[in-house]
Structures are given as structure tokens and as C-alpha cells.
Amino acid sequence: MLGYALRRLLGVVPTFLLIVSAAFFLMRAAPGGPFDAEQTLPPEIAANLQAAYGLDQPVLVQFGRYLSGLARGDLGPSFRMKDFTVAELIGRGLPVTLTIGAAALVLAVLLGVPLGMLAALRRNGWVDHAVMSVALAGIAVPGFVVAPVLALVFGIRLGWLPVAGWEAGSVRHMVLPVITLALPFVAYVARLTRGSLLEVLQSGYIRTARAKGLAERVVLGRHALKPTLLPVISFLGPAAAALLTGSLVVEQVFGLPGVGRYFVQGAINRDYTLVMGMVIFYAALILLLNLAVDLLYGWLDPRIRHD
């Protein structure tokens, strides 16, 4: 297990370095400098600004500096929000993003797994067709359509829930964002669970368990559940990445002060350092979550780690 974990970890490092270099050199390839938008500066001041941000150094020196800053968790200052560093902005937004992301993931598993199992057990019945059609709709209709419509219906027309905003610890403010974010994942998990359970139910050991005369409840709970959940667990890695992408929209629509909102603002304002720092941060987060899922998977399924 330890060897497997180390191999996985070593696989992540080159990918991360590739992402960092790609982000860095893409930013350097940008036409125009970061100070071009402001009024024409006297050459001396422009030179001072360049020096202050280290932009007068050769590109490779800048890259080296950036990497050594990165190793200390320093992602540099934000070009547009002058009083903040990128790391500070991430630190402010992260609790919000992680809270709604984790809640959505839990909701997706708690709803999606039972729905998918129900559909598989009633295969080709009306329950199955209903669940699968709703699931396809949940996957097809994007969050940025669902979010404003939910806000319109439950926030404005019915007035049950706040339309937007965030108060730490307030569950009422979390309901709509979490539902919006979770919807496609509930659908996906349901589909995966259905397909996986159908396959598991055809396998030999399930036939054996039934032949022994075990109750259907025991067959499902003791023998079928764990192998059924394996594809769901391996989906959690990509799901984490998709959740972060989805949170861009949800935070925008519901006005949540999360990481995604700073990222989108940064992209619209062409805040180079902020966008670059956040992409690197997102990449690291996604790689770590994938790694965690891989390890969990290897722990659950010994066939994987001895591959």
C-alpha cells in the first residue's frame, strides 16, 4: 500500500510542474504588459514599476522566482486588487467554496446512490424510466440555467429563501447554491450506481449468495453494495474538479464570496497574477483530491494496487 501511495504521489509531481509552467509561460506570451491599461506612464516610473514586480529580469529568472515563491505558498500580489496578495484572496474565499462543495458532494452521494439502486432493482419499470429521464435532464440542463430559475422561484416569487448573499453558518443561505451545485452530480451518481449494480447483480458471487437462500436485503447490503460503489468512488475525483468549475457559476449567481468569484472577476479584469495563481491553486487542489480518491480506491480494491 505504501509503495502504491508513493508511486501515485510521484506521478502527480510532473503533472503539477507542467501545469505551473504552462500557466506561467502562457501569461508571459500575453500581448502587452500588465501596466499598459493605465494612462501612459513616464518611462522612469514604468521602469520602477517593472523593477518592483521583477519584470525587468530575464523570463527564466522570473520563472525561478515564481517557483521558489510557490514553494513557500506565495503566489504573488494581485495586479488589480492592489492591497491583496493572491494567497490572501484564496484564503478568504476558500472556506465558502469548500463548504458548499462538500455539502453538494455529500448530497449527491446520499441521494444519487439510493435512486440509482432503486432504478436498477426496478429495471425497465416506470420508476427506472422516471429516474433515468430526470437524471439525463439533471445532467443536460446547466447550473447557470438552474441557478437563476431557482432564485426566481424560491427567492423572489415564493420568498422562502434568500436570493443571494452569504452569512457564515447560515443554512438558509446555503440551500439554493448547494442544490444547484449538487443536481448534476446526483444525476451522475444515480446513473453510475444503476449501471454498476446491474453488472454486479449478474456476477457469480451474487448468484451464489442467492442460491444459499440469503434474504435479498442481505444479498444487496452485504455482497452487492461495496463493489457497486467502486465506480462511484472513482467518479469522485473528476467530480471534485467539476464541482470547482460549477462553483464559478453558483458563486457568481448567488453572490457568494468564494474563490470562484475572485477568479471570474480576475479573468474579466485581466488580472494576470490572480488568474495564474488561482489556476495553479485549483490544479493543485484537483490533483490532491484525485490522489486521495486513487488511494481510497486502492485501499478498497486490492486488484488495483498490485497492478
Binding site: 503533472t15 443536460a140 447557470f144 440555467v145 437563476p148 446491474l198 453488472e199 471570474v264 495564474m276
Partner: protein
């Protein structure tokens, strides 16, 4: 089973799938509407109707604004359909870009096999690990926002799955007699790939392409919704939804009409794609 048998069998299965047939019919209507409506309308997409007061008018048959107008007094009927046109255009072009790269990459890797295959697919694996939405956003920050960039960027990240699928098929085809015959005849490798491998994976490619189109539409509207995609005076469904969301308290139709069209379009494409996949490959669930 003969080639014709396979296709007619698939066609029969598709026609028996009621959801897919309805989705296909609706899709044809949506495409026709997006092509014809902007021509038939008496308003241009950026034309302000100053006769209205207030400028934001709800849907009405009386004043000729069937879907209402936005808060600048522009006709939503023509804006929604020309937005659909832009979304469909981006989707088609980006899908073609990703198909071209994916098929070429996958067929080459699968046919050649060995060390080359290993490196080519390793490259795909690494790209898979990238948070590509964030990279497309970097691209828009670096190179500005243009329609050309959007479909190049989407096409450039969309080919990975295609490459994997085609590679699997190409590896199987490599063992077949007609490929051995082509090798014996002394055909150069690139001609074997182009003439014998690629035509035989087209069925799979078509199915996967119909599932790629809605993903691309989603991707483009996502960017446009965030304000990073299509720019004025052009519009797209994602942009219209974003504009509508700002006015939803006073003018809910501005949100609901483009949302409904986008949702319908995506649903139709997904149901049709699922139906096609089931029809061509009954074993896949």
C-alpha cells in the same frame, strides 16, 4: 452481419426509441427556427424599439415582440434565435476541430502501437489531468475574447476522449485481414491509416460526436454566461441567460425564454445522442 444490415438494424432500433425520435424532431425544428427566424423578423438583433415604454416589454403578440424585449428595447425573439445560431455554429466547428485531432491522434497511436502508442497516450493522460476549463479561461485572459479563440480552445481540449475511443478501435482493426493485405501490398503507413483504419471507426465517431455537440454548447454558454465568451454585438444563449438573470425580478421572461430554449436544445441533443449510442451499440448501458 453485413454493413448494410448493421446500419438498418441500428436505424430500426433508433426508430423504436420514442424519446430519441421526439428529440430528433424537436431538434430539427430548433435548427430551422434558428436559421429562419432572424431572416423572417422585422427587427435586427441590435435594433432598439423606441416606440416601447418602458423599453422592456413582456412577450406579446400585439406589438410584434413574441418573446418580449430586453431592457434596452431589443427584440428577444430575434436575439434568442440568432444566439441559438451562434451556439450551434460554435458547437459544430469546435466538434469538427476536436474530431479531426482526436481521430488522427487515436488512429495513429492505435495502429502504430508499441512505444509510440505509449507516449502518445501518456500525453493524453497528462492533458486529462489538467483542469481544462481553467485553461480556457487563461487563454481568454491572455488572447482576448473572440469567437475563433473559443472554438479553437474548446476543440483543443475536446479531442482527448475521442482519441481514446478511436485508439481502442484502431488497435482491434490492426489485426484484421484487410489491413494485413494492405501491408502486404506495400501501402505506406499513412495511407493505411487514412484509407483503412479511419473509415472503419466512423460509426463510433458519429455517435460520440452527437454527444460532444451538447458538451460544447454547454461549454460555450458557460463562458459566455461568465462574460468571457461571445461579445457584443453578437450574442449567444449563455449570454442571454446571464443578461436575463440580472433583470429577473422585474422582467422574468428575459431569463425564462433563453433558459427554456437552451435547456430544450441540450435535452434534445442528449436524448438523441443516447439513443444513437444505444442503437449502434446495444451492449453499452
Amino acid at each position: 452481419m453485413t454493413e448494410g444490415g448493421l446500419w438498418s438494424e441500428a436505424g430500426r432500433r433508433l426508430r423504436n426509441n420514442r424519446a430519441a425520435v421526439i428529440a430528433g424532431g424537436l431538434l430539427v425544428l430548433l435548427v430551422l427556427a434558428s436559421l429562419l427566424a432572424p431572416l423572417a423578423s422585422r427587427y435586427a438583433i441590435d435594433q432598439v424599439d423606441w416606440t416601447l415604454s418602458p423599453l422592456a416589454s413582456p412577450p406579446s403578440l400585439g406589438n410584434g415582440h413574441w418573446f418580449g424585449t430586453d431592457s434596452n428595447g431589443r427584440d428577444l425573439f430575434v436575439r434568442v434565435w440568432s444566439g441559438t445560431q451562434v451556439s450551434l455554429l460554435v458547437a459544430l466547428l469546435a466538434t469538427l476541430v476536436s474530431l479531426a485531432i482526436g481521430v488522427a491522434w487515436g488512429a495513429t497511436a492505435g495502429y502504430l502501437g508499441g512505444r509510440v502508442d505509449e507516449w502518445m497516450m501518456r500525453f493524453v493522460d497528462v492533458l486529462y489531468a489538467l483542469p481544462y476549463m481553467f485553461f480556457v479561461i487563461i487563454l481568454t485572459v491572455v488572447f482576448g475574447r473572440s469567437l475563433l479563440l473559443i472554438f479553437l480552445a474548446i476543440g483543443a481540449v475536446g479531442w482527448l476522449t475521442m482519441a481514446r475511443i478511436v485508439r481502442g478501435q484502431a488497435m482491434a482493426l490492426r489485426q484484421r485481414e484487410f489491413v494485413a493485405a494492405a501491408i502486404t501490398l506495400g501501402l505506406p503507413t499513412h495511407r493505411i491509416i487514412a484509407r483503412h483504419i479511419v473509415p472503419n471507426v466512423l460509426g463510433t465517431v458519429v455517435v460520440y460526436a452527437t454527444l460532444t455537440v451538447p458538451q460544447v454548447i454547454l461549454f460555450e454558454s458557460f463562458l459566455s454566461f461568465l462574460g468571457l465568451g461571445v461579445q457584443e454585438p453578437l450574442t449567444s444563449l449563455g449570454r442571454l441567460v446571464a443578461e436575463g438573470a440580472l433583470e429577473m425580478e422585474t422582467a422574468p421572461w428575459q431569463l425564462l425564454v433563453p433558459s427554456a430554449v437552451l435547456a430544450l436544445l441540450l435535452l434534445c441533443l442528449n436524448f438523441l445522442g443516447d439513443g444513437l449510442r444505444d442503437a449502434l451499440d446495444p451492449r453499452a448501458d
